[in-house]
């Protein structure tokens, strides 16, 4: 802000550009507005899914603008970088300009300024002003960390102040924002995120990275000794527990059970219980059923309609939702490289005459939720799932999906988290307050005027001044 008028050389020009709070507001609102786009378009899907959903030209257009991986696109990152620069430059500029003013050797009190302040709390005491000096000074220094008495033309004044340091609260908040962004950058540059699927008894020493198609060597082996899945009576999952061993140079160096929310840490690398899936071997046991039960859940009414059907049969749906043909039963179905196991393929003839293919993996009753997202022709009016297809084998066997990641920036980010909480509290709810108790001698009485300032929460400060004046007026000085 300071040098705005005299900026001539390019550095100063750029510097001044970044000291503008108007820029901050523009950036914050741009980030808010553009972030919305990324929540409307599913991010980081496969090109096939996009082609199906949007068509070729819209897909290319979105891809060009970076809308399909918006938060990592160059222009979104540029906005973030500009915000970081803006926050940094603004803070440095203001802090360096006001440091001397905020933290002087000796606080200055301008009496005439205090005398002009409104509102004033006034009262009189039946004694000479000199008598009040000691008790008043004691009261003020009890309430304010710094207290000083100065002679004035009409008597003397007691000044008090507290919370000068709270003026740096806002800079703590700004520092925290920088911390979080820097931590994020450290994480993406020096960390990794990957996954590996393990069946009980299997081990792996390399993982599949999420950011690319590459695999990475870990330097040790993760072995899954056991994996148990338990369900509530309602069918909702209760717990996934994987017993893991870390093997380095042929020796088991660490063994631990992991569940969701309780990962394993080894050498800065964390292993999380992220997902699970049925083992394909089990799927071959499923006999092609003569008849099976399809469950149609209407989104309009919430009603659930179980319907029996055999392969090749077409059934009529209630609530004029259309017709459904059960085309095929398969023992495996490939979805983005993962085998979904036993799967029903059907055709939905919707009420408007259009027909869409429907994929219903038996293991994943909510898979069909994605139907309307991937296929725009499909109406979003119901959910279809398969039920009652029991597998002959008694014991269900699953593989565990492990997330393996390393993020050296996380502690920088967490430091930012702590700083922003502390900083916001200081910046919002603590203030720099000054008070002036002006004692005006008018023999034999004296008149006392209490005024004060606060850099924040002016109304609250007025109330506090009122209370202070009340305390002062009620003090007993005879003894």
């Amino acid at each position: 802000m300071r040098n705005q008028a005299i900026a001539t050389d390019p550095f100063n020009k750029i510097w001044n550009f970044f000291t503008s709070v108007r820029l901050t507001i523009v950036l914050l609102l741009s980030l808010a507005a553009t972030s919305i786009i990324g929540t409307l378009i599913p991010q980081n899907e496969s090109p096939q899914a996009y082609l199906q959903a949007f068509g070729a030209s819209v897909y290319r257009f979105f891809d060009l603008l970076g809308f399909l991986d918006l938060y990592h696109s160059w222009w979104f990152q540029t906005l973030m970088l500009l915000l970081a620069l803006n926050v940094m430059v603004c803070s440095i500029d203001r802090l360096s300009a006001t440091w001397r003013i905020i933290f002087p050797e000796r606080p200055k009190f301008n009496l005439s300024r205090f005398r002009r302040l409104e509102p004033k709390e006034e009262f009189t005491q039946n004694c000479a002003g000199e008598q009040l000096k000691k008790p008043y000074q004691a009261t003020i220094s009890r309430n304010f960390r710094y207290c000083r008495v100065e002679e004035t033309d009409t008597g003397y004044a007691i000044f008090g102040e507290r919370g000068r340091w709270t003026r740096i609260g806002v800079y703590i908040v700004h520092l925290s924002v920088i911390c979080m962004l820097v931590g994020g950058v450290i994480g993406t540059r020096f960390g990794f995120e990957g996954f590996v699927n393990l069946a009980p008894g299997e081990g792996a020493s390399q993982i599949q990275l999420r950011s690319s198609n590459q695999r990475m060597q870990l330097g040790f082996t993760i072995r899954c000794d056991d994996f148990k899945v338990s369900f509530y009576p309602s069918g909702a999952p209760e717990e996934w527990r994987a017993s893991l061993s870390i093997i380095e140079q042929g020796k088991v160096v660490k063994s631990q059970d992991i569940i969701v929310n309780d990962p394993l840490h080894y050498k800065g690398i964390s292993i999380f219980q992220a997902s699970y899936g049925p083992l394909p071997s089990r799927q071959q046991d499923v006999q092609r059923p003569d008849e099976l039960t399809l469950v149609f859940t209407s989104k309009a009414t919430g009603m659930i309609y179980p319907k029996k059907a055999a392969v090749g049969q077409t059934i009529e749906l209630p609530e004029s939702l259309g017709k459904f043909t059960l085309d095929e039963f398969r023992n495996s179905y490939d979805f983005r490289g993962q085998d979904l196991g036993a799967t029903i393929i059907g055709t939905l003839h919707q009420s408007d005459g259009s027909a869409v293919e429907v994929v219903l993996p038996v293991q994943f009753p909510s898979f069909d939720k994605m139907g309307p997202i991937f296929n725009k022709i499909r109406k979003d009016d119901m959910l279809i799932s398969v039920s009652g297809l029991k597998t002959p084998s008694v014991e269900e066997r699953y593989f565990t999906g492990l997330q393996v990641s390393r993020d050296p920036g996380v502690w920088v980010v967490y430091t930012g988290f702590i700083l922003i909480i502390v900083g916001c509290y200081i910046a919002f709810f603590m203030s720099h307050r000054q008070v002036c108790v002006d004692i005006i001698e008018s023999d034999p009485n004296c008149r006392i005027v209490v005024t004060g300032t606060a850099n924040k929460n002016k109304l609250g400060n007025e109330l506090k001044l009122k209370t202070l004046a009340q305390t002062l007026s009620q003090e007993n000085f005879e003894t």
Partner: protein, 336 residues
């Protein structure tokens, strides 16, 4: 008597309190206001008991967990915080008119939780991802933040009612007002209770008609009764400051809520930020309120502009909370 039954009763108690606050405001009778305060307090106690009973009941069912685990429970807690903060403010500023604008919000929240099909009041067992102590910290902090923003929204409404009369109408503002209201009313009726956009549009038009009907009615009131309705509103300066203080409180708790969510996500999935729609919308809300704070602190915005920004912020809060269900998010736990 089950916790859910008590909470259903509390809905009506809050409704009664809101009715009494409105009576106190319109008929200027002290007694209504005093009774309203006691009714609201009784509602708050009932609300507390209901929440605690659900906690106990969950242990009796053998799936013990804190009662902050699904949409129903979060809404009930949301109403609880709104009433709690409101009663504290009522004691502080000694003005009950604010109650006419806030207790109905709490009643609506409770009614929505009980009546909306698809929101179950049954106590459900926790899925693995929710089994974490961060759940409690995350839900509590988020909803204190949301409640503070809801109250700030109410204060902004009062501010605009008190302030809006003494300015010359500007053409484009007069056109923009109903259009904006229509868009937001449509969006939120779609988000909150209507299944398709055409119906939502009609509800939006209805809301616009009712709103501008009331505005027109208020404009044509005799000056005397208009003044009678507004003269006991808190001073305009107090409303501005109160709204601002609530936004500060909300911003602090929203930040803590996002942070606890991030720390939790890091312990569950190994990433503290994944740009999924819910996370992103909470950040958008954060951006809107951060804009408000900077506009006010350094560019000296006050009054009406801040009131409108505060309303925009609350719209973003509601969208974060409910609207995300409309978005094409594939981010759900456990495979698909």
């Amino acid at each position: 008597m089950s916790g859910s039954l008590i909470l259903s009763i509390v809905t009506f108690v809050y409704g009664l309190a809101g009715f009494l606050y409105i009576c106190a405001w319109i008929f200027r009778k002290q007694i209504f206001g005093k009774v309203a305060t006691w009714v609201a307090l009784a509602g708050l106690i009932g609300n507390t008991v209901g929440i605690l009973m659900r906690w106990v009941e969950s242990y009796q069912l053998g799936i013990g967990h804190a009662p902050f685990s699904n949409l129903y429970e979060s809404l009930v807690f949301f109403a609880w915080v709104i009433i709690l903060i409101y009663l504290i403010i009522e004691r502080k500023i000694e003005n009950r008119i604010f109650g006419a604008f806030t207790t109905p919000i709490a009643c609506l929240v409770m009614a929505y939780a009980s009546l909306k099909p698809g929101i179950t009041s049954a106590i459900q067992p926790l899925i693995p991802a929710l089994k974490s102590n961060w759940l409690i910290a995350h839900v509590i902090t988020c909803f204190i933040g949301y409640a503070a923003f809801a109250l700030a929204f109410g204060v902004s409404g009062m501010y605009l009612m008190k302030k809006s009369r003494d300015e010359d109408p500007v053409m484009w503002v007069e056109v923009a007002k109903p259009l904006t209201l229509f868009l937001f009313a449509t969006l939120f009726s779609r988000v909150l209770f209507v299944k398709d956009w055409v119906l939502a549009g009609m509800v939006g038009i209805l809301i616009c008609l009712v709103f501008f009907g009331l505005v027109l009615l208020a404009r044509n009131l005799p000056a005397e009764s208009k003044a009678r309705l507004l003269d006991r509103f808190p001073d305009i300066r107090i409303l501005d400051e109160l709204g601002y203080q609530l936004i500060l409180l909300g911003f602090l708790f929203l930040s803590v809520g996002i942070i606890t969510g991030a720390v939790w996500a890091n312990s569950a999935w190994g990433r503290y930020w994944g740009w999924d729609p819910k996370e992103t919308w909470s950040l958008i809300t954060w951006f809107v309120y951060a804009t408000l704070l900077h506009a006010r602190l350094t560019r000296g915005w006050h009054g009406k502009r801040i009131a409108f920004l505060s309303m925009l912020g609350f719209a973003s809060v509601i969208f974060t909370y409910f609207g995300v269900n409309l978005l094409p998010g594939l981010h759900s736990y456990g495979s698909f």
